[in-house]
Subunit: 459 residues, 2 copies
C-alpha cells in the first residue's frame, strides 16, 4: 500500500506543484482588514480540495475572525492511530513589496525553488499532507491511519481564536498525535525535529504629544516630539548587555541545567551558519549565552516598526502628533505571555513622559512549548525522515512561535510532532520567500512513510 502511494506521489509531482501554486495565488494576509474576502477564498479552496480527494465531514467553521477548515477520514478502524494534521493558510504581509524579485502572489519556479508569499510558511508545508493523503486514497482507497485536518487562518496574527475553538471541539479534535509541518530542517539533505518553540507577546505603544502635527521650526524645542520620546522609551527597554529591563521580565525564566545546555549546544547552529543565513556583519545578543541559547531558550524583545511623521522620499519638517511602535517579546518556559504583556504595559506607563498621552495595546499572546521527544509519535517521525531523506533527523529547540503547539499539549493532551520541511534561508516573513521543491516532494514521501510507520507501531 505504501509503495503504491509513493509511486503515485512521484508520478504526480507536477500536479501537486500546480495545485500549490493555485493556493499561493490567493493573497490571504490575515492581519489586513482588506484581505477578508481572500481569507474566505483560501478556506473555500482548501475545503474543495480536501473534499475532492476523498476526505469527509469537510467543514468551514467560523471563528470570531477567520474560519478554520476541518475535514477527516476515520475509516482506518478504532485500533489505528488518529493523526491530527494542523496547518495554517494565512500568510504574512508582503512589505517591503519593492524588494520582491517576483510578485509575491504570482508563485514562480526558479531552478529548484518556488518563490511566493506562503511558499514555505505554511501553504507549501500544509499541502504536503494533502498530497500524501491523496496519494494513499487514490491508490489504496484507504489510509493506514485515521486523519483529521485542522487548517487555521490566524497563525500569523497569533491564533487569537484557536484556544476557544479547541476547548469547544475537544471531541472533534481527539487524536493520538498532532502533526505540524511549519518549521525548517537543517539543510536540504538533513532533517530536523523541532523540540520546542518560544512564546510571544506582541504589543503596540502609542504616544500622543499634540492635537495635530506641528511645524518643527515653530515648535521644535518647546513641545516634546512623540518620536523623540518614543525612541528614548524604546531604547530603555534593553540594557547594554542585551537584557530586557522590564522589572520581573526574567523572574519565571527556566534556566537550563549544565547537561541541558551541553545538549542544546550540539553544533547544529553555529555563529558561522547564522552569519551566512542572515548576511549580518556580526552577531549580537544577551551576554553570557551562546548563539543557539539566545535564539531558543532565552527571551528577547524586538521592535518591528515605528509609525508617525514622514518616511517618503526627501524631507518634511514635521513634529508628528502621534507616534506608534510595534514591539514583540519572544518568551520561553515558564514565562506566561499574558503576565509578561501586563508587566510590559505597567512598565511603559511607569516610564512614559508626562508630556505625552500614552496607550499600550496587547495584539497577541502565546505561550512557549516544549515537545516530549521520547514519545513514540516522535520516534515514528524520526524513522519516517530516515526513509524520506536517507538519514536520521537531528533535534533542535527553535526560536519562533507556533501558538497551537502549547494548546494541543495542554488542552488536548495530545503529543505534538514538529516535522518541518522548510530551510533556514527560506526568507519566511521576508521578501522573496521560497520553498525548496525537492523538499516539497521528499516531504510528501516522508509523510506517506510516517502514516505507515505510525500505524505499524500501534499494531
Amino acid at each position: 500500500m505504501r509503495l503504491d502511494a509513493l509511486a503515485y506521489a512521484q508520478n504526480h509531482q507536477s500536479e501537486a506543484l500546480t495545485d500549490l501554486q493555485a493556493l499561493l495565488r490567493i493573497p490571504s494576509i490575515s492581519t489586513l482588514p482588506e484581505s477578508q474576502g481572500d481569507m474566505q477564498r483560501a478556506a473555500q479552496w482548501l475545503a474543495d480540495k480536501l473534499g475532492s480527494i476523498g476526505l469527509q465531514n469537510v467543514k468551514i467553521l467560523p471563528t470570531a475572525s477567520h474560519p478554520i477548515v476541518y475535514a477527516d477520514w476515520l475509516q482506518a478502524g478504532p485500533t489505528a492511530p488518529t493523526v491530527l494534521i494542523y496547518g495554517h493558510y494565512d500568510v504574512q504581509p508582503v512589505d517591503p513589496l519593492a524588494e520582491w524579485l517576483t510578485p509575491p502572489f504570482e508563485p514562480t519556479v526558479k531552478g529548484d525553488d518556488l518563490f511566493g508569499r506562503g511558499a514555505t510558511d505554511d501553504k507549501g508545508q500544509l499541502y504536503i499532507h494533502i498530497a500524501a493523503v491523496e496519494a494513499y486514497l487514490k491508490t489504496a482507497g484507504q489510509l493506514p491511519v485515521n486523519v483529521k485536518f485542522i487548517l487555521e487562518g490566524e497563525e500569523e496574527i497569533g491564533s487569537p481564536n484557536i484556544a476557544d475553538f479547541i476547548q469547544t471541539q475537544l471531541d472533534l479534535l481527539k487524536a493520538d498525535v498532532a502533526l505540524i509541518s511549519d518549521t525548517h530542517i537543517l539543510n536540504p539533505h538533513t532533517p530536523l525535529i523541532i523540540t520546542g518553540v518560544r512564546g510571544l507577546a506582541y504589543m503596540e505603544v502609542t504616544l500622543r504629544g499634540s492635537q495635530h502635527d506641528l511645524h518643527s521650526g515653530a515648535y521644535g524645542g518647546v513641545v516634546e516630539n512623540p518620536l523623540n520620546a518614543l525612541v528614548r522609551l524604546l531604547a530603555s527597554l534593553k540594557d547594554e548587555q542585551g537584557r530586557v529591563t522590564i522589572p520581573g521580565f526574567y523572574d519565571d525564566v527556566q534556566e537550563l541545567s549544565p547537561a541541558e545546555r551541553a545538549a542544546l549546544n550540539n553544533g547544529l547552529v553555529t555563529d558561522e551558519s547564522v552569519l551566512a543565513e542572515t548576511g549580518a556583519p556580526a552577531l549580537w545578543g544577551e551576554a553570557g549565552y551562546t548563539t543557539v541559547e539566545r535564539k531558543s531558550v532565552r527571551p528577547t524583545l524586538d521592535i518591528h516598526g515605528i509609525k508617525g511623521g514622514f518616511i517618503g522620499a526627501g524631507q518634511k519638517t514635521v513634529i508628528p502628533a502621534v507616534a506608534c511602535a510595534k514591539v514583540s517579546m519572544r518568551l520561553v518556559p515558564n514565562q506566561s505571555a499574558e503576565h509578561i504583556a501586563q508587566l510590559f504595559i505597567d512598565h511603559i506607563h511607569r516610564i512614559a513622559p508626562s508630556t505625552m498621552e500614552v496607550s499600550v495595546e496587547k495584539l497577541n499572546c502565546s505561550d512557549s512549548a516544549v515537545v516530549d521527544i521520547s514519545s513514540s509519535a516522535v520516534e515514528a517521525a524520526a524513522e519516517a525522515y530516515e526513509q524520506g531523506f536517507g538519514r536520521r533527523p537531528f533535534y533542535l529547540r527553535e526560536g519562533g512561535s507556533i501558538p497551537v503547539v502549547g494548546l494541543f499539549s495542554h488542552l488536548l493532551q495530545t503529543p505534538v510532532v514538529l516535522m518541518g520541511f522548510g530551510l533556514p534561508d527560506d526568507r519566511l516573513h521576508a521578501p522573496n520567500e521560497k520553498f525548496h521543491l525537492p523538499n516539497f516532494y521528499r516531504g510528501i514521501e516522508t509523510v506517506i512513510h510516517y502514516f505507515d510507520i505510525l500505524s505499524s507501531k500501534r499494531r
Copy 2:
C-alpha cells in the same frame, strides 16, 4: 493712486480667492519625484498670471531641480525704490492624508477660513503680492515702486539651488528691500514683524543589519535589530536636560545678553499660548531657557520619521534588514549649518554599533538669519501694517527656517522684511492647513500701503 488700488482690491476679493484656489489645486509637492509635472504646471500658472496683470520680463528660469519664476515692473523710475518680492510655490507633503477633513488639493472655504495644502505656506501669502500689484496696475496703470518677483519651487526642500541662482543673477535681483510674506502674525488683529529665523540641517541616517528581512522568532536575540539599534542611537542624541549631545554642537551658539533676553521675553509668546496652539498636555525643552527662547534662539533636534519593518494594521514579526531615520536640527546664530551637519555625520559614525552598516546623508542645510529692524524698509512695513490692521506690529524672533533670508542679506546686501499674514494655528506642514481669509484681504491692502509708504519715504 493708493485709494483707487485699495478700492479695486476690495471690489475684487472674490476674484482673488478664485485665483488662489486655482493655484492651490496644483499639488506642487517639491520633495516628491512624482510631482515633477505639477511643479512645472504651478510655475507656468504663476508666469501666466504675472504676465496677464502687466508684469514684464516674465521668465521661468531653470535650476538643477525646480524652476524659479521671475517677473518685474521697473517703470517707477530710477529714484523710486525697488522691491524684490520673494515667495515659494512648492508645498509640503500631505501625510497623513487620512487626517484631512477636506481633500488637501481641493481648496475649501469654511466660515472665514480657506483649507488646503499651501493655503498659508506659501501660495496664499505670495498671492497677496500679486493681487496688490494687480490692483495698482489695473487702476493707475503704474506702481509707486519698482518690483521684481522671484518665486521659487524648492523652499520646502531647503532651497538647495537658490544660493547659486542668486550668485549668478546679482544684477537681475538688485533691489532696495526684499519683501517676504511667509511667516505669521500674532492673531487676526495683531500684526507681527519677524526679526530672525533659525537655520536647519536635515539628515537621514540608515542602518543595515542583515541582507534581507528576518523572522524575529528565528533570529530575535542573535542578530541586532536595526530598529532596536536605531532607537538607541537616536535616543542618545539628547540628554535628560533636553540638550543635544553631539560634541561641539553648542560651540558657536550666540548667547543673548540679559538685555536681549529681556526684550525677547516680551510676553507675546506664553506657555499658555503655545499650549493652546498645540493642544499638548505639557511643554518641554532645554533646561535653563524660557519657552520663547527655546523656540527661537536655542538650537534643537527633532526626529521626523523612522522607516523600516511593518507599520500596517495588526502585526508582523519581522526584523527589518534596514532602518532609516529622518532627523533635523534647527540652528541659531552663529552656527554654520554645514559645520553642524558634519559634526552630526562624524558623531553618528563614532557611536554606531559595529553590528550595522551605517550611512548618513545630508539632505539640506541652511543658516539662520537676523533682520535689522532699524532699517527704513522695516519701519515702512510697521506703518503699512498700522494702515492695514489698525495697529502697530509687534516684533518677534521665530523658530522656523527660510533659507533665502540669510542669502538675501549676505549675497545681495539687501535688507529683508518678513511681513507675514498667517496665523499661529494655520497648521502649516500638517493636515488641514488653512489661511484666514480676512487676513488674506487685509494682507493685500497692507502691501498696497507698503508700496506707497516705501515710495514716499524715499522722496
